[in-house]
Amino acid sequence: MKQNRTARIIVSILFVAMLAAPLVIKWEAARRGGGKTKLDAQAALARHGFYFEEVSRAAGVNFVHQAPTLDPQLAPIMPQVASMGASVSIVDFDRDGWPDIYVTNSGEGSKNALYHNLHDGTFKDVAEEMGVADVNQPGTGVSMGAVWGDYDNDGYEDLLLIKWGRPELFHNDGGHGFTRVTEQAGLPAWVNANTALWFDYDGDGRLDLFIGGYYSEDVDLWHLKTTQIMPDSFEYAKNGGRKYLFHNLGNGKFEEVSVQAGINSRRWALASAAADLRGTGHPDLFIANDYGVSELYFNDGKHFHDVSAQTGVGFSPKSGMNAAFGDILNDGRYAVYVSNISEDGVLIQGNNLWMPKEGTAGDGLHFENVARDLGVELGGWSFGAQFGDLNNDGTLDLYLTNGYISLDRNRSYWYDFSKIAGGNSIIIIDANNWPAMEGRSLSGYQQKRVWLNDGAGKFINVAQAVGVTDTYDGRAVALVDLWNSGVLDAVVANQKGPLLIYKNTVTPENKWIEFTLEGTASNRSAIGTQVTLYWNGQQQKQEVSGGSGFAAQNDRRLHFGLGKAPHVEKAVIRWPSGKIQTIENPAVNQILKIKEPA
């Protein structure tokens, strides 16, 4: 009996200790992570090798995104339904060697902006005079994103604008203006799209086009015939928009071939990216879907094969909002980052970092989610993210923006959201059944993440310490060396918020090299070209992208950080045409302009 009493006392003490354990863990995490919340530039430079300054106003950029006002029947949940549209894409539209910025607006009658780089640290909005500003007229829908690619190989990047509405293709007339060629190209009359990318899927030297629908294309969000437009499931919704694959016929016309090519999905696509994951020379396609699982299609050059389940990326459903590739371990293999939702105490989906499993390759490629192990799992209501070497130390870091709806700081919609999320499909599919938001926030005012890759398999969030302190509702991120200074700056588009330009300052001890590529036999934008850089006994692979992240496109120029005292052995360039080009011992701290050899 005495023994029993002693055991009871000991177990009771342990029980109390166990109840206290989460509080201790929380306190310890806060102690470790609760670093600086204000920028100390010199300290950041010394400790992390870089810092950001938000310079949009100084750079002459004063753009504030406007959200659309949709059908009045959606008024109670309008902030949710009209929660996207802020996007950013980088292009050197006039081939002057300096990157420019295109941003979308989404209010009816609002105007998009094309910020021309004036080479002196400032920009000028030339969208109006170039003819790509007034694209949100009532009746035509509103902008959701834009991607650039030289579809006719004339040397100038053309603009594909996706909308909840009529997609538009603008031909770049030698950098002096744009001509709308939507009808000639054969684009559909209406798509509620949130993602698109340029890629040459069949290797014919002409850029093809993928567009992913979100809402079904038969829905006009301004004139609803029914309020049953919402997803039929929070996990396996298949009543979203269709997918389009436009094969470039080479005469300014495109042919829609998605079904013939094997892409036949009605999931709610929010992000897509393409990269050659298997070394076949053909870009594979990754689609991050809201309300469901991600999709991965292997491309054999003619057909796409849905390998979502067999590769492991298409099983556990989440809320995919981003797709970005990066060789994060410097081993020549791409990981793909998919952002999802995490809200303390309510929903912990966690973001996914899909890494190729050791020992798998080619058609047997299998991915495992290592987001938690590497420290990039929790990012709030995450949206756009991009990989890039922010401090030029030789490893790819990760910039993530987040925050869904920032309204009343003191009232949350999460209770009602969780209520409807648990409902049956016949309940949730109807917008009328969704509780009114009534000015409440839903994962608003969130702190961003700038995860530094320590090169040893861990990412550390340093956002606050390096000056990323905004709490806008972030949507799209694009990384670009805006001032040709050998560092990656970050441009962030915020929903109903300002366009932010984070100018990067990196310790000069860390070296860099950049590649501006131009295809000849391959598509002239060189989209899909891989550069593998070998230096100091390591390698890193990057690929020119025709769109990645969420509603974003990085600069096509590839940027490699090299760390201190690098000796670059070679750069191996594999063009989409299959040509391999090797550049021996390139000098560091330079922008290399390389044309595909004949």
Binding site: V11, P22, Y236, P317, G345, K419, A421, D430, N433
Partner: protein, 294 residues
């Protein structure tokens, strides 16, 4: 004490059925609930990717069983039947959502330990998994949430679970608890809709998810943490629904867990008090371990 957590009371075996081939074909009621919840787990995961990961669920189950074995041995000098610990572990594995591994272990261990530590007159008064999950949600909200996968929000899986669960719970003579709760929840949902102006469909919606299915079939029917009389059980489960109604009016996301967490033990204490008034000499704590648990 009892090691049973959620599997309702087994009807006594009839002597004439005790032997022969029929004995092998008839399912012991102790294993009905574990088998049912295992079916939910496997079906849910294979069809809808319900689990966070196999490892985390396995971790929760192992932690629960090991804890129960160790504490049973320490406290009572015998190995307990692990069926109830299995249910607790699997409930934790299904309901807890966390990117970390440690909450699964901690929640299971807290759940099982609670039934050994938090006792009044020899009875544990909290449903173990309800206690563990509520504690984790309250103490570690930045790391822990509950099940977000909702059977694809589809009708058929929901109906299958409801039908199977109802048959099983009927067989175990606890259907009145589930029935009263569902009716009460539905009535309060309409009342909330009237008060708040929210669509009634959104107020009913949570009831159609797997979290609630686990809650109404496995937590509120727990024989060892519910009062004994049928009438009392009906009153208590109505009060659980009422407490949940109040919590929901205050927009508490995990209202059902917290409602059971508060009402369940209070009802148990009231029952003990009433028992002690009726039969002062016969303390409930003097009741030995049921034969089936030995």
């Amino acid at each position: 004490m009892s090691e049973r957590i959620t599997a309702p009371v087994a009807p006594p075996a009839r002597p004439e059925d005790a032997g022969g081939w029929k004995r092998w074909l008839r399912l012991d009621n102790r294993y009905v609930a574990p088998i049912f919840i295992t079916c939910i787990l496997i079906g849910g995961h294979l069809s809808f990717g319900m689990l966070e990961s196999y490892q985390k669920t396995a971790l929760a189950i192992v932690a629960s069983i090991v804890t129960d074995l160790v504490l049973g041995r320490i406290f009572f000098g015998r190995w307990p039947n692990v069926a109830s610990a299995y249910i607790t572990g699997i409930s934790v594995g299904i309901l807890v959502r966390s990117p970390a591994f440690w909450p699964y272990v901690l929640c299971s261990v807290i759940s099982i330990t609670s039934k050994y530590v938090l006792r009044v007159k020899g009875r544990h008064i909290w449903n173990p998994s309800n206690f563990g999950i509520s504690a984790m949600l309250f103490l570690a909200p930045e790391t822990v949430a509950t099940l977000s996968i909702q059977w694809g929000n589809y009708l058929l899986p929901m109906l299958v679970i409801w039908a199977l669960g109802s048959v099983i719970i009927w067989r175990l003579r606890r259907f009145h608890i589930t029935g009263i709760y569902v009716v009460s929840f539905t009535a309060f949902a309409f009342l909330r809709s009237y008060i708040t102006g929210s669509p009634w469909q959104s107020e009913i919606a949570p009831l159609t998810g797997p979290m609630y299915q686990l809650f109404i079939f496995f937590m509120i029917t727990d024989p060892k943490t519910t009062v004994r009389s049928k009438k009392g059980q009906c009153i208590v489960v109505f009060l659980v629904a009422f407490a949940e109604f109040l919590l929901r009016l205050h927009q508490v996301v995990y209202a059902p867990f917290y409602a059971l967490f508060t009402v369940g033990p209070a009802a148990m204490l009231v029952e003990m008090w009433l028992d002690s008034r009726r039969t002062p000499a016969a303390s409930v704590g003097a009741v030995p371990l049921p034969a089936r648990s030995k």
